[in-house]
């Protein structure tokens, strides 16, 4: 069953004198539980594609359907709610809330969704355990290493069990040990929770672990391999 369908999507920027087409007629679909990497050289349109899928940006043309929602039909405030309910984000530079503890960061989206406190705590503890930070729940982001912060970010993205996780260069700021630990955790969560992961990456270690590799060049899909 497809959780995400991308049909003939274009994105053209008119910010400069010359129009730039960052995504040029991409058509893709993703099933539940995929572990996919979008690769390609810089400027190939990876991040733009992820932004479009996550509803952060609107396509110039084409259609994106997530869990039955046509993103082009949603108003800006509905798009925010859509992201809260259906999409988990993992950013390159972690982007945790600095004044909150690891537990509070993980519980933040559950809080936005008004989960009851006991249910929220149970899920937070479960995720802290899954990402190997059961003893660091009360630590602030500044007290955690880069790898640990990214693990908290993954746990936050997974917290409300969204349709899929979009991770934009999630390992770019991590050393190889932290990268391996993070990938192990994501693979395990992908397996255990049947969560769909879509990465944009340059990192060969991520590509090696991915079960589907989509290569973009000049905004076009030039290959789509499944392993």
């Amino acid at each position: 069953m497809n959780v995400l369908e991308i049909n003939e999507v274009y994105k053209t920027y008119h910010d400069t004198e010359v129009a730039v087409t960052a995504v040029n007629g991409v058509t893709l679909s993703f099933e539940r539980g995929e572990f996919a990497a979008v690769v390609g050289p810089s400027g190939s349109g990876k991040t733009t594609l992820l932004n479009l899928i996550g509803g952060l940006d609107q396509p110039t043309d084409g259609e994106i359907i997530v869990a039955g929602h046509r993103l082009s039909e949603l108003r800006p405030s509905e798009l925010i709610d859509f992201r809260m309910e259906h999409v988990g984000f993992v950013f390159q530079s972690y982007n945790l809330i600095p004044v909150l503890t690891a537990s509070e960061n993980i519980g933040f989206i559950m809080n936005l969704q008004h989960w009851p406190a006991d249910k929220r705590k149970k899920r937070t503890d479960e995720l802290l355990h899954s990402v190997g930070l059961a003893d660091r729940g009360n630590s602030r982001p500044s007290q955690l290493s880069g790898g640990q912060q990214q693990r908290v970010a993954v746990a936050r993205a997974l917290a409300t069990r969204p349709e899929f996780i979009l991770a934009d260069e999630p390992t770019a700021n991590l050393d190889s040990k932290s990268t391996d630990t993070l990938l192990d955790i994501m693979e395990k969560l992908n397996r255990d929770e049947e969560m769909t992961f879509i990465f944009s990456t340059h990192d060969s270690r991520v590509v090696r672990r991915a079960r589907r590799i989509i290569t973009l060049e000049d905004g076009r899909v030039v290959s789509d391999e499944r392993r």
């Binding site: 932004n51 952060l56 940006d57 984000f89 004044v99 933040f108 969704q113």
Partner: protein, 470 residues
Amino acid sequence: MKDYQLAWKNLWRNRRRTMITAASVFFAVFFALVMRSFQLGTYDHMFKNVIESYTGYLQIQDSAFADEPVIDNCFVLSDQQVSALEADKNIDKVIPRIESFALAASGNRTQGVIVMGIDPVLENEVSGIKDRLVKYRFTPEIVKEMSEDSVPDKIKKLLPLFENESYSSVGRLMADLDLKESDTAVILPLIRKKASFPNGYFGETSPGVLIGDKLSVYLHLNVGDTLVMVGQGYHASSAAAKYVVDGIVKLPTPDIDNKIVYLTVNSARLFYDTPGMVTSAVLDIKDNSEEAIAETKTRISSTLSSPLKVLVWQEMNEILVNQMEADSKSGLIMIGILYLVIAFGVFGTVLMMMSERKREFGMLISIGMQKRRLAKVVSIELILMGLLGLITGVIATIPFAFYFNTHPIRFTGQMARMYEDYGFEPVMPFMLPDTYYLWQTLVVLIMLVIAVFFCIRKIYRINVINALRA
């Protein structure tokens, strides 16, 4: 986690910046309130001095006298009129006055004076003129003698500042000389011994006069000396007489103290040749609130026939009121500048905060936080920061206002002389917290609301993609 909890945590993420911004609001509020309290307290004190020792709150005058205060514009005040006025619910007494001018002389010195014909008993009940009789006077000789005596060093240093000063009460003397209760046992007997001033009041039928302290110093007059006065009486008759000085009074308004001569109303009628007449009838009122004064004026005006009219204290002291209004406006401009500087400081903080946290805001919106909720959290942060400065600022001024209201700042030396030259008592009390506190609070709140609106607008205009790249 509730929005206000998140806002509170955010507030302390950059503790130093929050403290600096709150401190800037604190100091703005503190200085603005202190300045305003000082200004309003001083005006209030000046008005009270003039009203209580001179004009009263309400007077009945001939309408011509209000424009041209000469003896020809006096009127007959009958007993029936007095009874009718005293029947009003807010009027306690009606005090007759004859007020005009004359030239006073003693030895080879002359001075233009205000001649005030008063009822010694009634006037004393209203303006407490008996309490203003000079009790102690520090002539240069007395100051020298006391300085050589065994007085505490602190007082010895202060004494020269009070040369030629007179006092009508021990309280004022203690305040000026900075005397503590513990000092009084040593110094008061000495002051009583050395500086006591023999003085007296006049009775209803007394032919003598009371004169202002500064006038007595200028004319070198003492109790028992003779004062000569020459002036113009009713309808160009000649007015000339000599009077024995029965007493010397110390009035708080220097500009009156240096030219006042009190006679009994009967003596003044004789002097000006105005039998049975007055230039004004002071209405001693029970309730002196602005509303009660206005209502009383309306009621009394309706019973009077032309050319008599009722004047309120502002109309009788127009110059002073205008002076105070002009001064008040310049004070408000100063406060405005102070707030403007602080507003820039607050906006600087807000701009820096918005710019620093742009990426975080982008992240929060991308993971599903609605912009209105984000705006609410940031608004709470700003309001908490502003309120922190505002509330502490207001609280910090309250003890000052209470202390300096009862212990006013009293200028001495050159500064005191400068004040007296302008006709003001060199005393600056603070005004107790009043509606002006609300106004200052409102100004700060408006400043905060503008800052909050600015933030809200910025948040609603955030482009998530750009913010995440910031």
